[in-house]
Symmetry: C2
Subunit: 420 residues, 2 copies
């Protein structure tokens, strides 16, 4: 039996360390070239498979692949594209099988979050459902940290570190200015459903009174009165108030704060996010001068201050996925398992994909303080090791040097095009 | 003659390296204790002098003062408070002299931007105007980089580095996502009048086609048609478009873009800044999916990725200010003078304060490309050395360790209080 080639794709929102997982996959495939063939990366994720746009990673130098470890975002392109169910859209799966067959692909590595786990699960069932033998292994990735059956998700630790540091730094700024100027600072962070990233802002505080003075969570209904009282108390007590707010902050009835129902002169929905909404609210109720920031992509792309732990784990799940494939596994996710000791330790585990797909892991209630505005010691204990260590990229002329791949496509073998 | 004490204050918006200047001042005063007395820092800037709230920096340990070099923002507090003219508000100057006399202060070090240079100039004239002998030396600081008679301003290099890196990182993110999702990314940066910070975004690009594809400048009137065409061209050519926009971007008639005249349901002015305004404009004209970020305080507080050159220069101007005072100078600013050689070099110079105060240095037109959307090679040559080198703070448990001073006030000597 000739050795099979492998397919790898990046899916969904990218992170500072998803390329470290790619690096782990590719270096491990290369280290096992006697047992595994070439590693083809999908150009722009799964779409690359459907379109037969396969990047031949074997044409990249050892150095180029090595530099993926310190390069943020998706070097092969990602996509937001969810495969429908096999019953609904059989043509897509038939196309995948066609492409896999044409390129002798027997391994499928999918690097993504919850939606992607579902896609990976469906591919893992192709053998049973459509008679094409393929082993599908999921490689976890999401800044949202909301995948189940893994202690944490690669990508999250680096965002957490960025948000914790940014909160600490901006808070020092506000503290310097508050006597005559800005009294309230709001940092808007990612997190539509789960508050993990917002929680990480809490790591900025070392002692009583330290910023952030208020954290909002999507899991806790926003209560305007309680919030205003807390802002006022913080300004009175400390001279200023620093707030970390997730994009998914919402009222008890489920309405997002950012969706304030406001309209501009032309009737367009308002532009702002949570931070400007809260700022305006505070200004009109309490009159405090404010500043706000929206970190947006900056937070998940900030490889310059990535967590060393995160980078290591991202690489490790990529490596483990290839090893699982070589061990004959299918329909599993490489997971991170935390040790029980007082000192933080972790190892790679294995989670069944059908238990991972379409499940979101929210913040446990005991990670949030009773008043709903902060994190508990249990949460700090959970988060702290995930941001540990700095893993700086190399610099030239003051700028980080990130990978530039050739990304050469394999020659097409199929005549038929597939429209995505 | 008994040796005189010195007063130091931080003024205006703080930066990632203003404390490095404070460190330079304090360490140099300490090294010259036979000739100069104590260094009192104003609590919250000049207000601290008026209120007789003087921080006795001699009570801080050598290590604590040393750690100021890697601590962002104003460790003694800053203020936005402009002294009026002596004719207008003689009481303020009389109070300053009272406080200076009471604490035997003969040296005045003021660490700030353009407005602060004006305050420092007025204090430098107290000897002539009000008969109180004091030497006033200005220590330049501003992220806006708009002070004249200095090649650049401490604080700017670190913001420039942060914006260049953030642009490069976020651009990789957009490039990964653009096939099926976000096509336009807008980063809003500081700069109300001068485009220096926006220009720094241009350092993200190494080659043709690299982001940012569009930079806006306050110095160049915004032309919506030209802008939209450029956005569209970039998306067609590269699949995406990255834009760096300063808060001060404006129309030919002087109106700021951010002041779109839009109102919410309650008649409040719209919340957004330049980035959301541009995003909404692009969405409604071209239909592209967008993301935007507003860096706000994050950019000027980002000590974690400060420019080593900037830190060194910030320290040097602080040190030089004390040396100038000891050499009997008055009414001068410590400046940075660039060498003429091909290889970047700099040394400390001296600029007359009356030529510095109230003058803003804009981007020269030849630093902006003819089309008004980018930076020229001359601009790159100017900016590149300013972001050179990384000067990482120490970390513990994944977090940067910033100075915590005792900030103990000197016992008051005056009975009279002064209301500020």
């Amino acid at each position: 039996m000739s050795k099979k080639n492998a397919f790898y794709a990046q899916s969904g929102g990218v992170t500072a360390v998803i390329n470290a997982s790619a690096c782990g996959v590719i270096e491990t495939v290369r280290a096992n070239r006697r047992r595994m063939g070439k590693l083809y990366a999908g150009r722009n994720g799964i779409i690359g498979a459907l379109r037969e746009e396969l990047i031949d990673t074997s044409r990249e130098s050892t150095a180029a692949i090595g530099s993926l470890r310190h390069t943020p975002s998706g070097a092969f392109g990602s996509c937001r594209y969810k495969l429908k169910g096999i019953e609904e859209h059989r043509a897509e799966y038939e196309r995948l099988i066609e492409v896999f067959k044409a390129h002798n692909i027997g391994y499928f590595f999918y690097n993504g979050g919850g939606d992607s786990a579902d896609t990976c699960l469906k591919v893992s069932q192709l053998s049973a459902t459509m008679g094409y033998p393929v082993q599908a292994i999921h490689i976890p990735k999401t800044v949202d940290n909301d995948l189940p059956l893994t202690d944490n998700c690669p990508g999250f630790g680096s965002v957490a570190k960025y948000i914790a540091i940014s909160t600490r730094e901006a808070a020092l700024d506000v503290a310097s200015m508050c006597e005559t100027s800005t009294k309230v600072f709001i940092l808007e962070v990612m997190g539509r459903h789960a508050g993990w990233i917002a929680a990480a802002g809490g790591l900025a505080a070392d002692a009583e009174g330290d910023a952030p003075h208020i954290i909002l969570f999507p899991e806790i209904a926003f209560n305007k009165d309680k919030f205003m009282k807390r802002v006022q108390r913080s300004v009175k007590r400390y001279g200023h108030c620093v707030i970390v707010a997730p994009e998914g902050a919402r009222y008890a009835d489920g309405r997002f704060l950012a969706d304030a129902g406001t309209r501009d002169a032309f009737g367009h929905a308002q532009l702002g996010g949570v931070a400007p909404t809260l700022a305006e609210m505070i200004k009109s109720e309490l009159g405090y001068k404010y500043h706000w920031a929206v970190a947006d992509y900056l937070q998940r792309a900030a490889r310059h201050i990535a967590s060393a732990t995160d980078v290591e784990q991202a690489y490790a799940v990529g490596k483990a996925a290839v090893e699982m494939a070589l061990a004959g596994k299918n329909s599993v996710m490489a997971s991170i398992v935390r040790g029980n000791g007082k000192k933080y330790s972790w190892k790679i585990g294995e989670a069944p994909l059908d238990k991972v797909a379409n499940v979101e892991k929210m913040m446990p209630r005991n990670f949030i303080t009773r008043d709903g505005f902060g994190i508990t010691q249990a949460c700090r204990d959970y988060l702290t090791p995930l941001i540990a260590g700095e893993d700086y990229p190399p610099y030239k002329n003051g700028m980080p040097q990130y990978a530039r791949l050739k990304n050469e496509l394999v020659a097409r073998k199929l005549k038929k095009r597939f429209k995505v």
